[in-house]
Amino acid sequence: MSVIYILWLREVKKYLRSRAQIIASLGSPLMYLGVLGFALGPVFARAGEGSYLQFIAPGVMGMTLLFTSMFSGVALLWDRQFGFLKETLVAPVPRVQVMLGRTLGGATVAMLQGLLILVVCLIAGFRPSSAAAVPLALLVMALIAIVFAALGTVIGSSLREMQGFQLVMNFLVMPIFFLSGALYPLKNLPIALAVLTRIDPLTYGVDGARGAFIGVSHFGIMTDVVVLIVAGLALLALGAWRFTKIEA
């Protein structure tokens, strides 16, 4: 237990100390929220879908959770590069504990960043349907963070070199984001896109967050939560397995 805790604490401490990074990571969510949110607002309203800002805010939170948690998982490559990974791999503790500490730390960092974006959204004019909806929304956000921190660990344990990082960003993280329905409704999509969105775990995350925050959900919150839990457990198991295969 103390091993998981100290490695979790390491991730959180490093995040809280990197002020410049925290501010820099506000950049792209602000773009989506500020520019897309307001620019597409009139079109969205005319299509009879209501406020686009209300619609996109949960999507932007989902995006932040995705990017931050994936990034912390792939940071494993940094630790490999700078050697710290070895220190944890040769320690007389089960690898699973090392993996859990790191992954839950990454998920926590993503959650903190997600909460920051929630505050930004509230300032921009986003209004959850009721205060009572917030705890459920936070649960969905936490699940998104865990799912993608675990996926980050799977990727980080499988890549050997830093060069792979760009590949992951362009061919995994960006597609997950664009296919998730964070920016558009899931209704009436072309069949190919409809299929792709349904195999993207973030789709259920964003849908669940939307359901909780503003009461609009495509699949129903229960379905979303169940899919996220199943995906999270599967990815944690896969991550643990990949992590035990890393050679020190």
């Binding site: 091993v3 805790y5 390491r10 050697g83 070895k86 220190e87 040769v90």
Partner: protein, 268 residues
Amino acid sequence: MSSPEPVIRVQHVVKKFGDLAAVDDISFDVSRGEVFAFLGPNGAGKTTTIKMLTTLLRPTSGTLELDGLDPTVDTNDVRRRLGVVFQDPSLDQDLTAWENMEIHGVLYGVPRGVRRERTKELLTLFDLWERRDSMVKTFSGGMRRRLEIARGLLHTPRVLFLDEPTLGLDPQSRNQLWTHVSHLNKTEGVTVFLTTHYMDEADRVADRIAVIDHGRIVAIGSPAELKAKTGAASLEDAYLALTGTSIRDESAGAADRMRQMARAWGRR
């Protein structure tokens, strides 16, 4: 030659990578409390041997024993008895010296009270106590090395492995580092197993030296015995007499590969 209860016992150990034997039937003992140096050209099998003793590699054949335990079976128990300072740094540079010690202590199950006390003691000894709350990235090369060694000793290991610990350090830092290591060897009785390229260091700190070349031990004994055996005036000359004068340092990669290939073909 060695005392009745060796802390490390290596018997007929072979490690093959494919057809290549990186370590080819080596046997030696290291006594408790000894400072034992492993010398050899690049690619001679030093790091492979250390990796086998520290549970990172399994030998192809032969037996290893560390403090009476088998590293291939009692992996975690063996790891708890070892302090390892790798050739490459393994500190978290974005954390402080203190935090690096804390994490290590928790990973090795050192109880909080003992951990705090021993961290203070070791950081003070290695002249790092004043800088305990500074980020490691602000440390010089010598300070980082000292911190790694202090960290390796935190869980009071029976054996401290130092793989080329003074590589890239200035003479002052090297001198200071060995003073500390010798001190700890005497006060705590920790056995030290080191590799180095600097003969003067081996001559100064080691009780016994094994010279390894082409995966085999070519000579073993005290610095004086090695000099006497080869009739050389200095350990440097003794070493060259044992391993030859051909250059392997500068072009280790290519020379190694050629040598290994030659041996692989020769064996078929």
